[in-house]
Symmetry: D2
Subunit: 333 residues, 4 copies
Amino acid sequence: MNTIRAGVYGGSGYAGLDLVEILSRHPAIDLVFATSNTYQGDPVPSADLCFVPPDEAALEAVDVIFLALPHRASAAMAKRGIEAGVKVVDLSADLRMDSPEAYQTHYDSPHPHPELLPAPYGLPEINRANLAGVDVVATPGCYPTTALLGLYPLLRHNALSADAPVIVDAKSGVTGAGRKPSLSTHFAEVYSNLIPYKTGRSHRHIGELEQEAHKLTPRMGPIIFCPHLLPVDRGLMASIYVTLNDCFDSSQAQDLFAEAYGSEPLVEVLPAGEQATLKHAVKTNRCAISITPVLERYLHITSVTDNLRKGAASQAVQNMNLMFGIDETTGLI
Amino acid sequence: MNTIRAGVYGGSGYAGLDLVEILSRHPAIDLVFATSNTYQGDPVPSADLCFVPPDEAALEAVDVIFLALPHRASAAMAKRGIEAGVKVVDLSADLRMDSPEAYQTHYDSPHPHPELLPAPYGLPEINRANLAGVDVVATPGCYPTTALLGLYPLLRHNALSADAPVIVDAKSGVTGAGRKPSLSTHFAEVYSNLIPYKTGRSHRHIGELEQEAHKLTPRMGPIIFCPHLLPVDRGLMASIYVTLNDCFDSSQAQDLFAEAYGSEPLVEVLPAGEQATLKHAVKTNRCAISITPVLERYLHITSVTDNLRKGAASQAVQNMNLMFGIDETTGLI
Amino acid sequence: MNTIRAGVYGGSGYAGLDLVEILSRHPAIDLVFATSNTYQGDPVPSADLCFVPPDEAALEAVDVIFLALPHRASAAMAKRGIEAGVKVVDLSADLRMDSPEAYQTHYDSPHPHPELLPAPYGLPEINRANLAGVDVVATPGCYPTTALLGLYPLLRHNALSADAPVIVDAKSGVTGAGRKPSLSTHFAEVYSNLIPYKTGRSHRHIGELEQEAHKLTPRMGPIIFCPHLLPVDRGLMASIYVTLNDCFDSSQAQDLFAEAYGSEPLVEVLPAGEQATLKHAVKTNRCAISITPVLERYLHITSVTDNLRKGAASQAVQNMNLMFGIDETTGLI
Amino acid sequence: MNTIRAGVYGGSGYAGLDLVEILSRHPAIDLVFATSNTYQGDPVPSADLCFVPPDEAALEAVDVIFLALPHRASAAMAKRGIEAGVKVVDLSADLRMDSPEAYQTHYDSPHPHPELLPAPYGLPEINRANLAGVDVVATPGCYPTTALLGLYPLLRHNALSADAPVIVDAKSGVTGAGRKPSLSTHFAEVYSNLIPYKTGRSHRHIGELEQEAHKLTPRMGPIIFCPHLLPVDRGLMASIYVTLNDCFDSSQAQDLFAEAYGSEPLVEVLPAGEQATLKHAVKTNRCAISITPVLERYLHITSVTDNLRKGAASQAVQNMNLMFGIDETTGLI
């Protein structure tokens, strides 16, 4: 296996720190730099490096860059990476929407580099065929990853009723809100609390979620999405409630999921009767899913990831493995 | 105000402890005894008493008894209380179902005292008219209280679609699982975790929930109910997703709730745009509700209580106040 | 009881919020205003007011002001209050040191109003005689309150060895670090962690602690003080380890404490053999203390308060009660 | 490297689960069985095995057994292992005391197999020379490991005052209390709390701690040891306060520690001025130590481990590596 030289932009955020940790143990990776404005000069935990400011990072010394940057900053850096001939794994939202118009709708500003769209959507279990060998990948958000994996076996079989909404009641650990201090992530505000936010259809991830779902099926109602801030540091649970159409019975669902994910190393379908909990996924690189049939037409699915791993850093590495043609799970299991 | 002499059976469980605390500060109450098998002889926190075993409690010395006992044990004690001529506020499940058959269905055993059914269902905001001056009241469970208060303004106006399910994704603090030690309440099992349990329609509270909802309207789909164990000590959130029928628009919901609860001292409807969080209700005797319209026909409601207060102990006291004809909020605000 | 008109400066910090809650239920208090720059215009939780900016607060409309402000800002406001003829209860550090020189030593800047020093030190259980009817009181810090109450019965009897240090290993909930967001109070940094900070003799509270201890006895070694940030929202435990001198035996300590605090309504000495835990004090206005004799000359004392109550807000109200000559525990038990 | 066949007794407790996880990734280990009475038949997390009851475990199929059993049960199994000619790594307290008399003193019952005593004490950083190639090792308790590593550089240089006590204020996550449900490990009892227990000199670990300390120096005062139950799942902090004798100055301590542990891969001495926090050690196999000089003669040391790793399972594996003559850190870094 040839060594792949990698650089991480935004290495001191929570996703960046997990990314650096995974890359530093990845057998094919030589981690060349990790950037941070806030922590420049400080040692990078779990790597033999110090954080450098972005403009001291040497693009010419790497084969691939990971962008764990705020949106807008990320697109600019992706552009620079592409021009420099390095592969780009973007963890921000900048490359996830297929069109500048969709980006404008959900992010309230013009896309800074519309020529970059569309980029391949890096959810390998659904979109693997479009990721092998490519130069740029948009790594999905934590909520869309978890929800789409919980819906995929149903969507690809057109199993949902077109007339009923898909309910996604989601709960995320606080690292999902980023490392920048704010009152909403202050310990004393979150502790012992549970906080719904951006409910209904107002969270930005709804655009990405519906865009990708509609590629799989035209037949589904609107997604109603309510995220909650959970008083834990990491882990994300999407509780999904769907209505099946007349061609499907909820008792068939376990088989549909087993078939879809039977050979997937990073998705675990729990046996019928067991429930996926946060602990099934936290500090792992996997998604865990449980299926509960409820009456004939209704189904309850629990899909769980670590928001910083399968919801961000480890999925980015999974994408990179595909981009370089090495085994998809290298460094991940 | 005449003094009401009260006794608490099961005073050392979590609901019992909150009950004793509320009663000991209640201006009309003289707390005569609190029973506990496990802690007999120990001082009762927040009261000037020691726990006594149940058979040393003097029924003839009290005007009312509160039963915070396991189901089945509670029915037997309710029977004894009634025969002794004292009023009975039951916090267990034993008097909540209207018929022995329904009890058998949900509790998997014959009702120990079928002659006690039906008893008035003690959710004052919905059923106040049937509680004034009565001798026995069944205090609702924490999940049904929280969900029914979140649905009531819609149910009484027949606002729901008859063809769509009502989704109740609920999250409860660990005191809801009782004080008896078990692996499922071990600190290290719950900490940093989130655990769905008895999902779909398998939790016992579903029977009580649908029984009471159907008294308000025949027009609604099945309730799909998924409780989760939340890593906090107290607080309960019911996230409710409903489909409205053609006569209603989601933008009307805020007004329906404001109208229903405008004069209710123990239900707080948050202003449009705000979200109810666990902290709105924990350590209070109130239910807090927020309403989020989602597209024209869909509505997301968040209803929050303290599972040990409005979900148990303070609602029991609210019922007692009604039973004795004193102001309903005495000792509660 | 005549009504006392009160104003709170800094009402939106954690201590300020508890203070407003206590004052709004205090039978002798009419809460006239609560100031906040950050939250001006927002409703004050637990009171029928909105936060006003400090310059809109009407000093002439109140009899007493509480200052829950950053140090330096507090001294300036204390000065204004005194000049306006209102009583001042300061919760900041500005009036706690007896001399400008001591202030300079521990706060690294000249005292903004040296003419205000010394002010009576508001720890009523130790210094009650100097608080009755006065116009200004410095309310102690949370660490000194908890540590001094744990040491007082020994200090006043000259029971400590002069040659051995007094060890104070303290643990505080995160509200003790204030409400202003910072990385050190970010949920994900504190959760599952335990963080020593400003250890040895570098925390500012050491000055106040030794100043007051030395007023009680000249006979004690240096205090070694290590605070830790505990992953809970509120509560403070001081674990104190002392060496007794030859005149005392550790077996006498329980009696010394019982004697000192037997008639104190806000200090609870636990029976021999029991240990004070955080739950003994959280959300109460009391300090709880347990005493463990260890060999003949060594003693381990655990002293616990709620850092926002007896460590701040409720002690401020206790002081105010003394300043106005009303029962010291009014509004507190 | 030859494969070492290993069996784990008591694999479903918290230490047992970590042990199985470490062994299943250890490059030299073939994990043959893991026993559990409670969970027999269930899959072993992180291994391709199911739990078997102890009497179905085949001693003849393994080269080494790990005993994560309750004390007394452990000694009996150690005896059987020795007689069967397999190496024994005991994680219980049964082999830690050097004499049956000392065991009787601290465990209140006669030692079940006095002929097994003394066994080598498996704290490699202190006692490595006595562990190479041996057949039986007593793995130390979590508190003694953490405290002894924090004291070792001082003890071996006779740096402590003989007249002053050594204070060990310790805080442990709840897994330290074992997996068996009890009220004291119930989530709602521990959450938001901090609980001192077995304080002074009453905790059983004091015997082991002083026994090993006295082998290093005769010159030290008594150890005063106060453990606390911390509301986190794992991690242990020992806050140590010592008085130095006239030959040493606290400013020399950083060098003493750097010298003692400079080449130790599993002990991290933090740079002067930094403080060891729980996060430095949790989910690692290391001990992290920080040193704070306080005046000339006093020193504050913070020593931190993961109670289930360096405090139990990973230290057991470290010992096993030494017993089989392979690199001490195999499978651990």
